[in-house]
Symmetry: C2
Subunit: 457 residues, 2 copies
Amino acid sequence: MAQSKTILQDTLRVLAEEKRYSTIKDIILFMNPADLAALFDTLDEKTLPVLFRLLPRDLAGEVFPETERDTQETLIRVFSDSELKQILEGLFTDDAADLVEEMPANVASRILSQADNTLRSAINQILKYPEDSAGSVMTTEFVELKENMTVSQALDHIRNVGLDKETVYTCYVTRAGKLLATVAAKDLLVEKDMNRKISEIMDENVISVVTTTDREEVAKLFQKYNLIALPVVDAENRLAGIITFDDVMDVMEKEATEDITIMSGQTPYEKSYSNSSPFELYLHRIPWLLILMVSATFTGLIITSFEQALAAQVVLTAFIPMLMDTGGNSGSQSSVTVIRAISLGEIEFRDLPRVMGKELLTAVFCGLSLGAVCFAKLMLIDRLILGNLAVTIPVAMAVCLTIMITVLVAKTVGCTLPVFAWKLGFDPAVMASPFITTVVDALSLLIYFTIASLILF
Amino acid sequence: MAQSKTILQDTLRVLAEEKRYSTIKDIILFMNPADLAALFDTLDEKTLPVLFRLLPRDLAGEVFPETERDTQETLIRVFSDSELKQILEGLFTDDAADLVEEMPANVASRILSQADNTLRSAINQILKYPEDSAGSVMTTEFVELKENMTVSQALDHIRNVGLDKETVYTCYVTRAGKLLATVAAKDLLVEKDMNRKISEIMDENVISVVTTTDREEVAKLFQKYNLIALPVVDAENRLAGIITFDDVMDVMEKEATEDITIMSGQTPYEKSYSNSSPFELYLHRIPWLLILMVSATFTGLIITSFEQALAAQVVLTAFIPMLMDTGGNSGSQSSVTVIRAISLGEIEFRDLPRVMGKELLTAVFCGLSLGAVCFAKLMLIDRLILGNLAVTIPVAMAVCLTIMITVLVAKTVGCTLPVFAWKLGFDPAVMASPFITTVVDALSLLIYFTIASLILF
């Protein structure tokens, strides 16, 4: 697929150079808007406008919002005012608002100057909502019905206004602008009595959000209730817009990526990996690397303060990495699992005792297994096979006891820190592997040296 | 919300004990199927069947598939044959197939014995497809149209058969069972000429998958093309079933959770965290903990072979945790980012050189910053403030050089291993933090002792 895209791209560039536009048109009309957009994103600045102008008006309107920011910017810069106006007329308000928000100031103001009054005020309205809120992702193109319409009148109304709406599959019944109920297009389509009133088939048990609801909350509602669209109302329950399932799929993907990024000790990106420059990647990665490096001063201090013990029993040093890693891995298993459960709405703060109980019991099982295997490994591999006679039974006992206690501590820290971070209003994902590892490192060393001192000295 | 659920749950239990069924019915009828399902999941085995039997038939059919496995099992065990038959009639085939698959053998065979012939053969058909394939998640209830129908005939057809279909919003045009085109209900709803032929408004540029396509691929297509439903065909292009967007949202969530779980060094769960017992959690966590613990033997060997150097300069030991962690963190930033980009289809194998170039440049920036800050920290905090005179300029130089080289190595390993794992047919997520950390630990120690030997001895 990627291969065929490259061939297609080369073919089109050559055809464009040879000005064989009718052949290009034949190829283009055979393609999907999403595929065309992906193709246009790969074209150079010279070929792009030439090919884009070959698209029929309708198709151009569908392809444009699917292309990437840079492609859109290039196109807008070469568009005449009338071309820009045409594209804007074809956009839904949420896409138009995204465009204004993402473009450099001079391009954005040109867009606003070419938008008609209705669109301009809708864009400005949407841009006023906080980032990542329902208001900022909603669109204002929805089908409104009245409760005293008949099914046949409703179907006529949809036939007349439906084409320009983002969805016709859920319609909204309003009274004096306030949201009253929803009507599924399916119920209209299967209704056999055309004179039945909308008030008889509408669903008054409406699930809606307010404009300031976080988009993550919105995504959860879609999944829970299997929605196609969700109405967004203002503080007075007036219908402000709707969010459709396709926007929510993007939100779900972005939220999962954001969680994963934060969990690996990076600040979240807005751009995709392919579009981020090394310097941008650096800016997202260096803060946590620096913080974690400097916090490792504590681990260093602990080792320094046990320097004499280590000098006397140098063999102890050899197990430091293994103990730290096993602790870190145990802790991050728990923290990552708990963070994901919080994200999915499975765990609440009051579940903490239950979660801790479960993690502690798991830790006991893991600790016993690891301790037993570790003892066998030390005696068989390190002492017998590798012939390291410094690995005595007391040394092996110290190491295995440390593993068991470290796993208990690591899993407790791993499951509690994310829950507390969340309770305090932080993103629990910050408490994932890198952070937990640093905390558990220090704790595991303290445990190790304390146990070693008791057993060996 | 969680709080109010508990209150509601207690209220209903008390009402059930007092046999005040009409009050319970009033409360229940006010609720959403998804909310009711969540509530039923919290009821004890005694109250559950009593309340479930209060549901009107239609609502019972909607609530049942939304409840959890355990709730379903309890209900099926107390259902009479006719009750079970009724519930089965209300299910879509994909939900019925899930049920048979998830129940213990005796319950599953009772379900199959109560299903009518059509349903039983549809269930058996779906169960034949490989796990996680499009065939295993599809449903067989879709609306079929013919190309020579008029818009008005198509609307009549939908009116007659639509009620029992999983979606009516995309209809499928077939010729001799083979998939020819799709028709969006929107196009039917906004069409002004009722005598227009379906062949004129249908979309022949169909996006479809075959029954064996992986569900992750299916989810990508939904997102790319903003689909409401996707047709599933067999090897001969015969329409076998459809997958709807709500099932895909579940798939997306499950795939993200699976990735996150694997990335934290656990084998993926099928159950949710809340439903997993500590012993089940243990089974998912212990394999990687054991593997990683035993692989740490190498790190131990490296330290042992530099024992004499360490005994001469004990201060070097103090920086081992910091160097290992910084390396591990740098490596997992790269590996996790690359793994996510692979999952989202952003990176392919041929992009490896580009990815490596980007990561190396990022690593140079990170390495220089970390090295400089580390040197300043060692001189200021460790030597001046904490008064550790063993931290000399050569020692600090050895540590900082190690950091810079380790970051370079860690980011290279971190970005290449997932891509190679993927190329070899493994899940790239396996190459996330825990694995990378173990590899980078060994490498960073080797780099550290080599540099320290060169500078200090």
